[in-house]
Amino acid sequence: MDMRVVRRICQIFFLALFLWLCAVMTLGTGWRQLRGWPVNWFLQIDPLVGLGTLLSTGRLYAGMIWSLAVVCMTLAFGRFFCGWVCPLGTCQQAAGYAGRRTRSLAGKVAVNQYHGAQNLKYWILAALAAAAAGSGMFQGMMHVPWLVAVIVCIAIGYFRGVSAFYLGVGLMLFWALVAGFQKIAPGFLQIGLLDPICLMQRFVNFVMLPLVDGGIVDMYPGNRFYALGWFSAAMVGFAVAASVRIPRFYCRYVCPLGALFGLISQASLWTLFRKNVQCRKCRVCEKDCEGACEPSDRFRVSECVLCLNCMASCPDDEIRFGIASGRPLPIDLERRRLLGAVVLGVAAGPVSRLDPLNAAAWNPELVRPPGSLDEAEFLSRCVKCGQCVRICPTNVIQPAGIEYGFSRWATPVLNFRAGASGCQLNCIACGHLCPTAAIRPLGLDEKKTLRIGTAFVDWGRCLPWAMDRPCIVCQETCPVSPKAISTRIHFSFLDLGPLAVEAVDAAGIHLKESVLPPDQLATGDYYCVTGQDVYLRILANTDRLLVLEDSGVQHPVSEDPIRIAIRLQRPVVDPNRCIGCGICQHECPVRGKPAICVTAENESRHRSHALLISEPQSGQP
C-alpha cells in the first residue's frame, strides 16, 4: 500500500472534518447544526493552544487535554500533524503541488531547498511563548513538582549540550516562575495570531462561511457580517498564495505550531532516514519534499512533515521510516537570536501593560460576551479563534478591531449595530463554545442576571426626551423581567400657543382660527389642556374642531384659550435590572447612533466598573 495515498486520504478526511465542524456552527438541533458536534476539537488537539494557555493561566482547561495525545504521537512519529492533519498545511500542499507541477525536475528541487530562514518560526514560537509566560498568573505553579520540572529541564539542557529545546523550555519556565512572584505583566497571549488552526478557524468562520451562507446553503437567517474579515482572508490567502512559489511557505517559515512540533520531534522515536550515508545524490527525493528537510543530505527531522514523497521517489529505495541509529540533526537556533526572541516576547507583556486601555482608560465601548472573565484574565485565555463570534445566533458578537488596543485584535466584542438583535436572554452559546474558557460556561439562571453592561439613554437623541415624539420602543423590547426600562409621563405643549375657543357643543370644541393639522391629533397621544389645567384626550380633530374624550369634566368655557399638549412616555433605565443585552439599542429607531446605548459600565466581571452600591445578592463582584 502506498502510504502517500493513505496520507492523502488522511489529509482530505481532516480537511473535510474541519470544514464540517465549522459548517455546523449554527445553534440548533438539525443535523447540520451544532447539536453535540465537537466543534472545538481541532483547537483542542492543537498543542500550541494548550501550551499558550498553560503558560498564561497555569491551567490546562478541559478539552485541551487532547493536545497531550498529539504531543505524545509527535514524540513517536514526528511532525505527522503538519503533513497529515493540519487543514492549512493541506491547503498549502495543494497550492504547492499545483504551482510546481509544470516545473522541470531541477526547478522542483530548487524550490524545496532548505533555507536558513526556516529558523524564523522557532524564534516566533519563542517570542509568543515567552510573552504568554510573562503574564504572571501563575497561582498554580508555585508547588514543588513544578520547580522540579524546571530544574530537570535546565539540568538536561546543561548536560546534553544540544540544549536548544530544553534550555528554551527551561528559560521560559524559569521566567514564568519569576513573573509569578512579581506579577508585573498582564496576560499577553498572542499565539492565536499565528497559530494555523486559529488562523484557519478565523478564515472559515469570518470569511468562507459568511460568503457561502445564504448563497449555497442557508445557515443563519439574514447576512452575517464580520469586522476585519478581509484581514483573516489576507493572512490565509497570503500563506496559500505564497505556497504556489514556495511550497508550504507558512509551515516552513512562520508557523509557530510547526516550530513546536519541530522541537518535539527532536526526541521522536520513528523518523525518516537514509539507509546509507553515501547515496548517489541524484536529489530526486527533493523534488516533492514538502518540508524542505534535505532528505538527500542531512535529513533535518525537525523540518520533515512526513509527506513521505522522498520515500516514494528515491530510485534506489534508500529512504526508510523507522528508528534510526544516531541522533537527529539538532536545530541550530543561534542561541543569541533565540535569546533575543525570548527577551522580545517577555518584554511584550510589560510593554503592553503600559497601554492605558488596560487600566484607568479602559474602553467602555468594549462590551464582552456574557461570562467573559475580567479583562486581564480574559486576554490571558482568548486565542482569537472566533468560535463565539460564529455561534452567536444574533451576530452581535464581532471580532474586535485594533481600536481596542493591538492585543485585543480579533477578540470578541459586542456590536449592537452590526447584530441582528442584542444578546439573547436565553442564549448561553458563546461560553459553552469557548475552547479556553475566556468566556466561562454559564448556566441559564446566572446568564439572566449577569450584567455585561448598562444601557444609557441619550436625552439629546431620544425621541420623547429631545423631540416630543412618542416612542418607547426600548421599553417594549426590554427582555428583562421586570423590565429594566420604565417610563416617566411628561406632557409637552405644542408650538401652537394658546388657542382661542369659539364655541363648545356636543361635537367638541370649535376654535376661532383654523390652525390645527387636520386628523393628526387623533393618535391618542394628544391632549387638550383647558384654562383650568384639565387634560382631555383628543379623539379626533379637523382644522378647527377638537373631539375630546369624555372624562366627566366640564368642557372649557368659550372665553378660555386652550393649549394642545402631547403626552410622552420617556424611558428611564434602572441600572439594577439592566443586564446590558443591548436589544434596546438595536431596536432604537434612531439607527445611526442610537439614543440608548450599552457601555460596559456596571458589568459584572469588573468590580471596579460597578455603578451602584446596592449589589444583587448573587455575590457577583
Binding site: G50, L54, G58, R59, L60, Y61, A62, M64, I65, S67, L68, V71, C72, L75, A76, G140, P145, W146, A149, V152, I264, A267, S268, L269, F273, R274, K275, N276, V277, G322, I323, A324, S325, G326, L373, E377, A437, R440, P441, E446, R607, S608, A610, L611, L612, I613, S614, E615, G619, Q620, P621
Partner: protein
Amino acid sequence: MGPEDLISRRNFLARALQAGLTGTLVAGGGILFYDPDGPMPPVVQAVSLPDFSISGIKKQLCIVHGPDRKKSLRSAFQALGGMESFIRPKDRVLIKVNAAFATPPQLGATTHPELVSETVRMCIESGAAYVAVTDNPINDPQSCFELTGIGPAARQAGARVILPDPGAFAPLTVPNARLIRNWPVMVGPFEGITRVIGMAPVKDHHRSGASMTLKNWYGLLGGRRNIFHQDIHTIIQELSIMIRPSLVILDGVAAMVRNGPTGGSFSDLRRTDTLIVGTDPVAVDAVGASLLQRSLDQLPFLEKAEAAGAGTVNYESLNPIRITAG
C-alpha cells in the same frame, strides 16, 4: 546493507527512553495542570477584621476643655487611668489618622500632627513594640502625609508611616452588610496589630452632615469608594461594625463648622477648645456633634451605628469625665 541500517540495542533503548521520558514529562505536566472545570464565578469571601476593642474594661469617655492639644491629651489619659490601661507592653499599635487632603494642618481638614506625635510618644512610653500611622487619602498619599505634617511628626516620634499600596488591599465582607461586600479594604497595615486608635478632627461634611471618628474609617476603603456617597449613612453604619477600635481621639479644638470636609479657610473653623477621648466611637462622635451644634436628626449615621451595636449616642450614660486642661 550499510552499518546505519542496523540500530544497536543500546541506541534504541536510549532513544526510546528519551521519547518516553519526554512523553511522561509532558503528559504528567499536562495532567498536573489539568483543569476540567475552568474558571468559577467569583465568590464573596467572608473575611473581616478582628475586634480591637479592649475587653475587660468598661466603656470610658473623657471630655477635656483647653486650647493646647498636647496638654489636653496628656490630661485626658491621666484622667482615664493613664495610657498604660489601654496600651500594654509589646502591643503593636496602628493609628488611623485623617490625612485625606494635602492641606496644611492649620486648616483643620486633617488630623493635627501635634496630636499624632504626642499619641505615638505616649504609646511608646507605655511599652508599645511598634506604632504605625496610616490612611488611604483622597489626594496623592505622599503629599498628603507630608503637607499635613502628619508624616514627619509620626516619624519623628518613632512611628512608621504606611502609605497605601495595591498589595495592602483585600476584598472584605462585613457580615450582614449590604454595601461592604467583597469590597477592597486596606487590611495590610492591620497585620499583626493588637491595638487600633482612630484619630480625627471634628469637621462639617456636606454629604453626611459631619465627619468625625466614624466617618474616618472611610479612609480604609479602596476601589471606587465614592459610589458609597449614594448611601453615606449606611456606609458609615457598616464601617462602624467593620472595625471596632481600641480607642478613638476626636480633636475638637478647632472645629470645621462649614464648607467641609475640605474647608480651606480659617473662617471655616471655630474655636471649640475640646478634645474627646473614649472607647466608644459613637459616644465620642455624639459629643462632637454637639460641638458642631448638630442634632441627632441631622446626623442619622449616629443612630444607625448605635442600632448596629457599635456604641451609644447617649454619651451621658457613660458618665463622661469632664476636665479642663491648661
